[in-house]
Amino acid sequence: MGLFPVGEAMAHALALKGSLFWLMTFAFALGFSTTVAEPALIAVCGEAADIAAKGGLIESSRQSLQSYALGLRLTVAVSVGLSILVGVLRIVLGWPIHYLIISGYVVVMLMTIIAPAEIIGIAYDAGGVTTSTVTVPLVAALGVGLAASIRGRNPLVDGFGLIAFASLLPMIFVMGYGLIVFGQ
């Protein structure tokens, strides 16, 4: 396993450096860069654009299809970056995970009420497709390595949970995207 040592070594080195800013930048960049090129996400976004065009929600020209799919991809990538950032912040500050996740669920439910019906299925799915073969080992190693480097953190309790945020925030963001695109 070549990816685990990399993630853990980097988490350890960043924790030793003690700069919260660089740690946050790294977390965001890791989430964004692993998601934006994710094949499963590209496939689902393309499919979503096709279906939205067939349903008459967006123009069926090639250009508008592409811009819709690209917008969806960027929305998901930014939200995964943000969620890794929040997850890392949680490990550093030692917040209990379930309050954050439960409040995330509440936001998802509130967004479901106001979001257009056509985006909801895609938004719920976007949460699941973001976490890929490359992302998961790196992100899991980042969390566990970070929790092991900070005193008073237990790797089992604090190290996991990054992926949970990465599947929750995209739902909220994609529904927001739907509100903006279809709401016009």
Binding site: G2, F26, P39, I97, V136
Partner: protein, 265 residues
């Protein structure tokens, strides 16, 4: 020859997918941490393994598994197979789709067992918990959750009931379980929801959902075709916490019995 060209194409796309991550790690290591990369040789050989392994894996999936999965999904949801006639049916009868539910559950179980991300997380969890979390136990628990989730998801597509009702109910169960489950399992359980759905599961499950919603009478693919993956990421959370609760109860009961035995002596 055809295989070689397919394989080199997959190898190229894999390199493209890995490139941004690699660039990020190298930039941070050199410019922010200002350290030489530790174990450079092992890292390079490991990286090459990752790329070649992933490319081989994806090429194999595309050659064998995906076409098979898609064909089976479309054949099983074909009205001729389900109702025995080719006449258009106006209202979907949910009891006629038994094979679909079974196929969905089996697909969910099998693809989750094969999922590399889940193997990676199970490995890490086993290492961190010093062996108390069994790798196979976790993988099978998650796979059962996915199987149930996808099966329920196809049921939802057939009946056309609104997605958010199911998800809301699932969330409620998760929240209630969180209050009672052992503290140490909660983050892992939340994570196992996300890791289940990646390279293997997503294409097959998405094809199943969209295929099914375009053949079931009265369903609109834009409204009903998506959502299976959401089910697949919700139910493993419930089963993993349930598994931990069961183990806690089981171990607790065994120690209680042992205490009673000691008292009798």
């Amino acid at each position: 020859m055809e295989f070689l060209s397919d394989f080199s194409k997959t190898l190229f796309t894999t390199c493209r997918d890995v490139a941004p991550v690699l660039a990020l790690i190298i930039c941070f290591q050199l410019f922010v941490l200002r350290q030489p990369i530790p174990h450079l040789r092992r890292l390079v050989s490991g990286g090459v393994y990752v790329v070649i392994g992933l490319a081989l894996f994806l090429a194999g999936l595309e050659k064998a598994l995906f076409p098979l999965g898609k064909i089976m999904a479309s054949q099983l949801s074909d009205p001729v197979f389900i109702y025995g006639t080719s006449e258009p049916v106006v209202v979907a009868d949910w009891t006629a789709y038994g094979w679909i539910y079974l196929f969905a559950a089996m697909t969910g179980f099998a693809t989750t067992i094969a999922e590399p991300s889940l193997i990676a997380v199970a490995y890490k969890a086993n290492e961190v918990s010093a062996g108390t979390i069994n790798q196979w136990g976790l993988r099978i628990t998650v796979a059962i959750g996915v199987a149930f989730g996808i099966s329920l998801g196809t049921f939802r597509i057939v009946t056309g009931t609104p997605l958010f009702m199911y998800i809301l109910a699932g969330y409620l169960v998760v929240v209630i379980q969180t209050m009672f489950a052992p503290r140490s399992i909660i983050p892992l359980a939340y994570d196992s929801g996300g890791v289940t759905t990646s390279t293997v599961t997503v294409p097959i499950v998405a094809a199943l959902g969209i295929g099914l919603s375009s053949t079931v009478p009265g369903r609109n693919p834009a409204l009903d075709g998506f959502g299976l993956i959401a089910f697949a990421s919700l139910f493993p959370i419930i089963t993993v916490m349930g598994y931990a609760q069961f183990m806690q109860w089981f171990v607790g009961r065994r120690t209680a019995i042992r205490k009673e035995d000691d008292n009798e002596i």
